[in-house]
């Protein structure tokens, strides 16, 4: 084998581009630290210790990865049908709110039943929030990038209003009453926040994979996403499948929001999402728009979040550093992909 061949083989190593991008992101992050006068070695050590240095740290990483995995899967499902559901954040928030309402207001149901109801209600809330843009697209051809983004802002202000005024529990904090015990997802690694939600998220990753790549409906949805003309030529209805994918996407996002409320916080706290929905879009792209890729990408982002918090506490390096690394990963992996995808679509 010639040198050139082995070089090429090396380049075609799976996920090499991702790994290199991550390394470069960490390298540039260290440089930033160096120039701002913090010792990078110490900071990075703290970051990694905070991410998986102990049982608690590990639990934190998984906890942080969970909502992002849901939102990444949500974006992925719509994207595979050729839809840019940019408004995952809104569906996530609505899911969380509806789950919180179901969790607080229903008082008669026993444990697993009530929990299931609250979860499904959350999923339904997310799906419902996706229904309107889906309808606008099917009926008037309104572009979903714009409508879902606007719906997202509406959701953010609407939920905030609700927990600040009509649904506010007494006290200083803008939040709902705590969810009934019968609707809570059990914690799996006390004293960390890690709850059963994470397992549900993994199950959803598998479910999305199975749906897209093993069922005929998923196959049809992917065909519609890649080439609607060919799909309709072979008898696959485009509009109904896109609406279906849209609703499913909203459902997954809604379950994600519900999982946060029922598993982590136990109530809807105003502003509890630092933009999980938006992160999910980037994570989805970093994960090569594949459910299993999303699992790894969300773990990476969870690691940066959890580790970043410890790093800030221990070394006084601002949390922004881990956000910088996160941003660099996005710039190196997700952004080029996003641009390519958008432009390739335009060309056809």
């Amino acid at each position: 084998m010639s040198l050139r061949d082995s070089w090429r083989k090396c380049l075609s190593f799976p996920f090499l581009s991702e790994i290199v991008a991550i390394l470069i992101a960490f390298l540039l992050g260290s440089l930033v630290l160096l120039f701002t006068g913090y010792p990078p070695g110490q900071a990075l050590r703290a970051l990694f210790r905070g991410a998986f240095g102990s049982r608690n740290a590990f639990g934190q990483t998984l906890t942080q990865a969970t909502p992002i995995l849901f939102t990444a899967l949500s974006f992925l499902v719509s994207f595979r049908a050729g839809i840019f559901n940019i408004g995952v954040e809104g569906q996530f928030l609505m899911g969380a709110l509806v789950a919180a309402l179901a969790g607080t207001s229903i008082k008669v149901l026993p444990f697993p039943v009530h929990l299931l109801c609250a979860l499904l209600a959350g999923g339904g809330g997310g799906a419902l929030w996706a229904l309107f843009p889906a309808w606008l697209k099917a009926r008037f051809g309104a572009h979903e990038v714009i409508t879902t983004m606007m719906m997202s802002y509406i959701a953010s202000y609407f939920t905030s209003y609700l927990v600040n005024y009509p649904c506010k529990a007494p006290g200083w904090v803008a939040q709902t009453h705590p969810v009934e015990r019968s609707a809570l997802l059990p914690k799996i690694l006390p004293p960390t926040q890690l709850s059963f939600t994470f397992v549900v998220a993994l199950a959803f990753a598998f479910f999305v994979f199975y749906f897209l790549f093993r069922t005929y409906l998923g196959f049809q949805i992917r065909a519609v996403g890649l080439n609607p003309e060919a799909a309709s030529n072979r008898g696959i209805p485009i509009a109904s499948h896109q609406i279906l994918a849209f609703l499913l996407s909203g459902f997954v996002a809604g379950i994600g929001g519900a999982g946060e409320v029922l598993g982590v916080h136990g109530k809807f706290v105003d502003g509890f999402s630092p933009g999980y929905g938006w992160d999910g879009i980037a994570v989805s792209l970093v994960g090569r728009l594949h459910p299993f890729g999303c699992v790894f990408a969300s773990l990476l982002f969870g690691l940066l979040r959890a580790g970043g918090m410890t790093m800030t506490r221990v070394t006084k390096v601002p949390l922004d550093l881990s956000l910088i690394i996160q941003a660099l990963v996005i710039v190196f992996i997700a952004a080029p992909r996003f641009i390519r995808l958008v432009f390739l679509r335009r060309k056809e």
């Binding site: 050139r4 075609s12 093993r214 069922t215 005929y216 409906l217 196959f219 049809q220 992917r222 065909a223 890649l226 080439n227 003309e229 060919a230 799909a231 309709s232 030529n233 072979r234 008898g235 696959i236």
Partner: protein, 505 residues
């Protein structure tokens, strides 16, 4: 004097494919050099490598005797090499003149020197006789004129070696004649041209010498005067090629498709007016006409992608006027779309997935309520690939990397993989090599022999006349007449030009 372009030992491989294997090529100044070969022989890859879109694994390129190391199309353009690709690359949302100067805009300071640009383009148009409305939106022009924009773009950049990768595949016969005339004129003007085509007629009309590739290797270069169609075909395929003949059997009396007084509205295309015809079992009905007279729309109406406003369509006696595409597929209607990239295949799907498209929700591939039976699907795909001799590195590669002929075979394999009662074949051999064309023709004739109905819509009159039992001529969305395939070309010409024979008496 050294040749204008000399290529030595050029090799280019892709994972699993050796696309060009030590190819030597010499192009003399001022000649039109034909490049022939089967689908997937490596013609496009060779030209793209010369144009520096791909980096060769090995090999050297000389221009006028001097070795050049071109690293990008931009440097190829600086060296005077221009290329018109198999798929056009003009920007549809720009005006014609903007497309021509794009990337090479004459400037005055930071401003675009519009007037100068115009002067230069107009001079160029006069010189070459390529007339164009410079202010038109490029995307609104017919393909033939868009191609003209590409040619002017190359000339504007001062290219002296012009590469044309299958320029005639997308053109109507009239446009082909015009293109040939222009190319000859460019040659007189001192340009050197490399011309890729599967149509030997065009090669004979144009080329001085021809180089033939087969499976990535060069078979040889011959002077056109020494060549015959049979000889070239044999060089390309490695065996003799026979155009299959229509059997003697008479079509049956039974009607498989009846179209009665069908009209449509003129949305997204031409309106159809009062179409009225039948197809019998065991019959190939050709549909001829100048492109854009309703052929596409007719196919869409038949497969259910276009609404019927009036009239009735029945398949084997069942009314399918308002049936969905899916229902029609189930009733045995097969369809080869005219554009295999847009309608025929999902390019990013694998060969297997493309073969599955349209059958995914039916047993036995669908097992249980939802699931696709992967092992069964794989066996199904492998057997299709074997039966239809689809040349592919595997069934799990995207269809995008297959050559045009093999993409078409994937479509054919899918459409014929269930019992067919009627096949609507649109431009089924467009862009296919002689062997693949022969193959497709044989399949159509097999269907006929088995007593199925076939509608053959094609821009290639020779193809239609060779295969059809009867020929309908479309003009402005109407069937203006019906001819026997033996009728002489003059009669076809009259009808296709809209001169009804009946009206003439």
């Amino acid at each position: 004097m050294p040749p204008l372009l000399e290529v030595r030992g050029l090799t280019k491989s892709f994972p699993g494919v050796l696309a060009n294997d030590h190819i030597d090529l010499e192009i003399e100044e001022g000649e039109i050099h034909g490049l022939l070969g089967e689908n997937g022989a490596g013609k496009s890859v060779l030209m793209s490598t010369i144009y520096s879109l791909y980096r060769p694994d090995e090999g050297r390129i000389f221009l006028r005797g001097r070795e050049v190391h071109m690293v990008s199309p931009a440097s190829a353009i600086r060296c005077g090499v221009g290329m018109v690709h198999q798929h056009l690359t003009v920007v549809p949302h720009l005006r014609v003149w903007e497309n021509i100067v794009l990337g090479e805009e004459p400037r005055r300071g930071v401003f675009l020197a519009r007037r100068e640009a115009f002067r230069r383009i107009e001079a160029l148009c006069r010189e070459t006789g390529l007339q164009l409305d410079l202010h038109a939106w490029t995307g609104e022009l017919p393909i033939g004129l868009q191609q003209r924009v590409e040619i002017l773009k190359m000339l504007y950049r001062g290219a002296s070696l012009l590469i044309f990768d299958e320029p005639t595949t997308v053109l109507t016969p009239q446009e082909v004649d015009q293109l040939i005339a222009y190319l000859l004129r460019l040659k007189e003007g001192g340009k050197t041209i490399i011309f890729i085509s599967h149509k030997l007629r065009e090669v004979f009309a144009l080329c001085d010498r021809v180089t033939v590739l087969r499976r990535g290797r060069k078979v040889g270069t011959i002077v056109i005067a020494d060549a015959s169609e049979e000889k070239l075909a044999e060089m390309m395929v490695g065996r003799k090629v026979f155009s299959p003949k229509r059997g003697e059997e008479k079509p049956k009396e039974t009607v498989v498709l009846a179209v009665e007084h069908v009209s449509t509205l003129p949305e997204r295309g031409k309106a159809l007016h009062g179409l009225n015809f039948v197809v019998h079992n065991g019959e190939i009905v050709g549909v001829a006409g100048v492109e854009g007279n309703g052929q596409t729309e007719l196919a869409e109406v038949l497969v259910g992608l276009r609404k019927v406003r009036q009239g009735k369509i029945s398949l084997r006696g069942e009314d399918i006027t308002f049936a969905s595409p899916k229902e029609r597929i189930k009733k045995g209607l097969a369809h080869i779309p005219e554009d295999r990239h847009r309608r025929g295949t999902v390019l990013d799907f694998t060969v297997t997935e493309n073969l599955l498209l349209g059958f995914e929700d039916e047993p036995p591939i669908r097992r249980g309520r939802w699931t696709i039976d992967l092992p069964l699907l794989r066996r199904f795909a492998l057997s299709r690939v074997g039966e239809f001799e689809i040349a592919t590195p595997g069934v799990d590669v995207p269809v995008r990397i297959l050559s045009g002929g093999n993409q078409q075979k994937v479509v054919l394999a899918r459409e014929l993989s269930r019992p067919v009662s009627l096949l609507v074949a649109c431009q089924p051999t467009r862009g296919l090599d002689v062997a693949a064309t022969e193959y497709v023709h044989r399949k159509l004739l097999d269907l006929r022999k088995e007593g199925k109905g076939v509608i053959l819509i094609s821009a290639d009159l020779d193809e239609i006349r060779a295969l059809s039992d009867r020929v309908l001529v479309l003009y402005e969305g109407r069937i203006i007449g019906e001819l026997a395939p033996q009728s002489d070309e003059y009669q076809f010409g009259l009808l296709m030009g809209g001169k009804s024979l009946v009206a003439q008496g």
